[in-house]
């Protein structure tokens, strides 16, 4: 075996000699045979032919001998070398086909990088498939947070979960050395990290004792905060640090890469953005279970399924409903963490994958068409090789080598494009997109790219390869590979490929059209406020110095008054929250003289605002009045409601002067009088409708010390950021001013997802239409070049230019119309899948379908027009002579 290999190796370098020797040997053999025949009495001429006949095909022998001495891979090297020569010989063809493939394979790799990072990669927790999120659900609130006492009962009573924890967002202010900063923080119950399967790098996590208020102030730090703020001090455990102006003891430091599992109460954090965890502690009357503000997470036991856990949790909730009157009417949702994290982005990602696959298919059809055209013009060469005895399998392999070479070159370029594309994609991603930090061109992406590249090469190489080897060498030689091409089967195949391209491009363009309409709808929505010239920031007052409601009220009152005095400020105010930032706090209440329907409660979003809040945000007044400085502790208790709340609870009534209360047994002073109705602002721009909501005046019923400040500027709002900081620090230099944002950018980021989706689908659709146009152009111009003699005859017989033009254009039109018709039908069937992705547009939107059909047909006709023009320039005499 080894000997054989060595011999082969030595022959590898003596190839030339080997061939010469073989030639000589064969010549000798023939001469001998010829002599033999002559000696048997044949005439010399006859003898030579007899010898040649007997010997058979010399080329064949050489090829077979070569196979004996050659390495298996060596013929491949030959094929590749041959293929490279072929590509080099026709640079225009090569550039078009390589660019086409590079773009489409690159797009596939880039989108797959996103899908791999977001959907396929496991969540960074231990056995993440067993993690679930727990929510409540009722007829009026499909997803709701948990009540702490309920949570404590779930945790104690359930048999389905290995562990269970709760958390709630609560950012903290860190001071001590340097400028005070606000960091993202969460209050967590004992065992929160244990549920996730994470362990602190230093120290420990909170125990159950920490859930009881007054058991000491503790904090766990993120690795980042520990490094940046505490110099990665290994002795940080036990150290006291100043959080919210109070001494907190550091009990743990989490390792780098501790990823927050996401939250939906308050603004959402995801990724490694959480820097501090504090013990969630609660106490109070366990019979009052109306307030819901924590989120549940749990780990299923290994032998318990989702359905079983759901059943058990609902049984527990039903039991709690019987034990506590306020707990009725709830169902428990147990949702896998995975679908909670990526569920919302999945349809869009799958749609994008579909879009790039369509682009790739079009690119394949294009490449196949180009190769077919070239294979046709190489008909003669192939016929010669077949006639010389090359086996068909060998020629097919040669053709496949060529197409695989093309696809690999394209794939290589595509991968380079993917690296750039992924960077661009991540930069373009909506800010709240999950797992953006996990998106890279990684090993799986590489494997995917190779797979796609090979599949592409085979797909577009098959048709030309088969067609080439089906060729009849005699026919190829006789006709010289010129007019065979017009022959039915081949041109039908090429036409079919173009029709497929056009229809696929049509599908994609319709998808893009629907996304565009949806985006425009969202951009033109009346948000219910006026975002221009508005700057916002959030300020959190530490409990230590601002423990009393009066202190909080005095601070914000003073700040807003000072801000309003600035010349560049049109109006300023503060409120518990800002529109479109995910706020969804709800409260039940009692309406004077009304009873809720059985089993339901009067519910609405609650907010708090200072008098200037509404005018600063540009929320209009519908009836009554806004709050004023005169609404103080000593005057009548007032409340503002939105239009939706007025319509829901006081339909067709004058609501001004009506009263509501939050007390079960209200005294006269507990009643709040409705003094005004303000315009609706939806939770999110694409929410179906605004939720009922009301506002307390900050001066009468302050309940939070975390407020958002809103300033409407006369000029450029961003210039007011420093003024705001100055004003805050003039009152209290220890306060952090966080989240300074323009309302414009909040509005912008709320449409970032539809914009992202449209930008990509639009890009792919544009690419698809371009490719389909190139495909149509290729086929039509090829057919024109093949029909030159025919057109020449027609013109010689009296056809005028417009006849020729019509002839060629009608070919293009036939392909375009057929392709568009198929595309429209396919899009009609597929667009229903887009339903969850488009806003306020029917998936069968006639305007989109009609205009896209028009565009596609127009592009195809345009692609046919250039060759048609060339056809009319045919000189009949030249055309006929060429024949």
């Amino acid at each position: 075996m080894a000997m054989k290999f060595l011999n082969k190796l030595s022959l590898l370098f003596g190839r030339r000699r080997f061939h010469d020797e073989l030639d000589e040997e064969i010549a000798f053999h023939r001469a001998q045979a010829e002599q033999e025949f002559v000696s048997e009495g044949m005439r010399p001429e006859e003898a030579r032919y007899a010898a040649m006949r007997q010997f058979g095909n010399g080329t064949r022998i050489k090829e077979r001998s070569r196979e004996v001495i050659g390495f298996r891979g060596e013929t491949v090297v030959q094929d590749v070398r041959y293929a490279i020569r072929q590509l080099w010989a026709s640079p225009a063809f090569t550039i078009v086909i390589l660019l086409t493939l590079a773009l489409s394979i690159g797009a596939n790799s880039a989108i797959f990088s996103v899908i791999n990072g977001v959907l396929l990669k496991r969540l960074p927790y231990e056995q993440p498939e067993r993690l679930v999120r727990i929510f409540l659900s009722s007829s009026s609130y499909p997803r709701f947070s948990l009540n702490p006492f309920d949570f404590r009962d779930y945790r104690a009573r359930n048999q389905s979960f290995e562990s269970m924890a709760a958390f709630t967002r609560g950012d903290v202010q860190l001071s001590g050395s340097g400028e005070p900063v606000r960091v993202n923080g969460f209050g967590i119950t004992a065992g929160y990290f244990h549920v996730l399967g994470l362990r602190p790098e230093l120290g420990r996590e909170f125990d159950q004792a920490a859930e009881i208020p007054g058991n000491g102030l503790q904090v766990i730090l993120s690795n980042r905060l520990w490094r940046t703020r505490f110099g990665a001090d290994p002795n940080v455990i036990g150290r006291k640090i100043t959080i919210n102006m109070q001494p907190y003891t550091v009990v743990g430091v989490m390792p780098a890469g501790t990823v927050h599992p996401g939250n939906e109460y308050h603004s959402v954090a995801y990724g490694e953005d959480v820097d501090a965890w504090w013990p969630f502690s609660f106490e109070g009357n366990p019979n009052r279970r109306g307030s819901h503000y924590i989120e549940g997470i749990a780990r299923l036991k290994s032998d318990v399924g989702l359905e079983q856990a759901r059943t058990e949790m609902n049984a527990i909730m039903a039991q709690l409903g019987r034990e506590h009157p306020g707990d009725g009417g709830w169902k428990v949702l147990v949702i896998p963490l995975y679908s909670e994290v990526v569920g919302a982005s999945r349809p869009m990602l799958l749609m994008l994958l579909g879009a790039v696959v369509i682009v790739l298919l079009i690119a394949c059809a294009n490449a196949a068409n180009l190769l077919l055209a070239r294979a046709s013009s190489r008909q003669r060469e192939i016929a010669v090789r077949l006639a010389m005895g090359a086996p068909r399998a060998r020629i097919m392999r040669q053709m496949m080598t060529e197409s695989l070479l093309i696809s690999f070159l394209g794939g290589g370029l595509g991968l380079a494009l993917a690296f750039i594309g992924v960077k661009a994609l991540v930069a373009l991603l909506p800010a709240d997109f999950p797992r953006a930090q996990d998106i890279h061109v990684s090993a799986p992406v590489l494997a995917f790219t190779i797979l796609v590249t090979v599949a592409t090469g085979i797909l577009f190489g098959l048709a030309p390869a088969f067609q080439a080897t089906r060729a009849d060498p005699r026919e190829g030689l006789q006709k010289g590979g010129r007019t065979t091409i017009g022959s039915g089967r081949q041109s039908r195949l090429r036409d079919a490929l173009v029709v497929a391209e056009v229809s696929l491009a049509c599908v994609l363009l319709i998808g893009a059209g629907l996304m565009l309409r949806s985006l425009l709808n969202q951009l033109h929505l009346d948000p219910g406020f006026q975002q221009e010239h508005v700057i916002t920031a959030s300020i959190s007052l530490p409990h230590v110095n601002y423990g009393k409601r009066e202190q909080v009220a005095r601070f914000f009152d003073g700040l807003v008054t000072n801000l309003n005095r600035l010349p560049d400020v049109e109006s300023a105010g503060a409120g518990s929250d800002l529109p479109w930032t995910g706020y969804d706090e709800n409260s039940g209440f009692t309406i004077e003289g009304k009873k809720p329907p059985a089993g339901e409660e009067f519910h609405a979003r609650y907010h708090m605002a200072t008098p200037g809040y509404f005018s600063a945000l540009g929320i209009p007044l519908v009836a009554g009045r806004f709050f004023t400085e005169a609404d103080t502790k000593d005057t009548q208790q007032v409340v503002l409601i939105n239009h939706a709340m007025a319509n829901k609870y006081w339909p067709n009534e004058n609501v001004i002067g009506k009263r509501m209360t939050f007390e079960d047994e209200p005294k006269e002073k507990d009643w709040l009088t409705i003094v005004g109705v303000v315009g609706d602002v939806k939770d999110q721009p694409n929410s179906p409708a605004a939720q009922p909501a009301f506002w307390w005046p900050e001066l009468q019923s302050g309940w939070t010390s975390d407020m958002s400040v809103v300033i409407r500027a006369r000029g450029t709002p961003s210039l007011l950021a420093d003024a705001l900081r100055n004003e805050v620090h003039r009152i209290d230099p220890a306060l952090a001013v966080a989240d300074v944002k323009l309302m414009d950018s909040i509005v912008n980021s709320s449409v970032s997802t539809p914009r992202f989706a449209f930008a990509l689908v639009g890009l792919f659709a544009g690419l698809a239409v371009l490719l389909a146009g190139i495909g149509t152009y290729g086929v039509i111009s090829y057919s024109v070049s093949q029909r030159t003699p025919e057109l020449g005859i027609r013109m010689a017989l009296g056809a005028v230019r417009s006849d020729v033009m019509g002839l060629v254009l009608s070919h293009a039109a036939r392909l375009a119309v057929l392709g568009t018709a198929l595309g429209v039908v396919a899009a009609f069937a597929l667009s229903r899948l887009l339903k969850s992705l488009i806003f306020d547009v029917s998936p069968a939107d006639p305007a989109t379908f009609v205009s896209v059909a028009g565009i596609v047909i127009l592009v195809a006709l345009l692609a046919g027009y250039v060759p048609a023009l060339r056809a009319t320039a045919t000189d009949p005499m030249n055309a006929l002579r060429a024949e």
Binding site: M3, K4, N7, K8, L11, E21, L22, E24, E25, I26, F28, H29, A31, Q32, A33, E36, Q54, F55, G56, N57, R60, I61, R64, S65, E67, V68, I69
Partner: protein, 112 residues
């Protein structure tokens, strides 16, 4: 034209090796020798002969030398190597085993 029986598969190498036991021969000589010794029953296709010779060369069972023929032409003469002689022994014994096995089967069929 009566169809001549094809060579049994795998026997060409053995026949070539056997032919070469009588001395050095060129390709044409090998083909001629096989044809004559088999009384024109076995014909070696040139298309198989030369690839087979390359195969044997690769395995070092034969070696080749350019020499002059009686008629003063340059030709490549093949000779058996010791390894080739050993290989011939192996192939012959395999062949004999096979023939006798086939013979047993056939005689059994005839007797039945």
């Amino acid at each position: 034209m009566a169809k001549k029986p094809d060579l049994l598969p795998g026997t060409l190498d053995m026949l070539i090796l056997k032919t070469l036991t009588r001395g050095a021969l060129h390709g044409y000589g090998i083909a001629l020798s096989i044809k004559r010794l088999s009384d024109d029953v076995l014909t070696v296709e040139e298309g198989s002969l030369y690839p087979a010779l390359q195969r044997l060369l690769l395995r070092n069972w034969v070696k080749a030398e350019w020499k002059m023929t009686d008629t003063n032409r340059r030709a490549r003469f093949y000779t058996l190597t010791p390894a080739g002689r050993k290989q011939l022994g192996v192939e012959l014994s395999h062949f004999e085993q096979m023939i006798s096995a086939i013979g047993r089967v056939l005689s059994d069929v005839q007797e039945a």
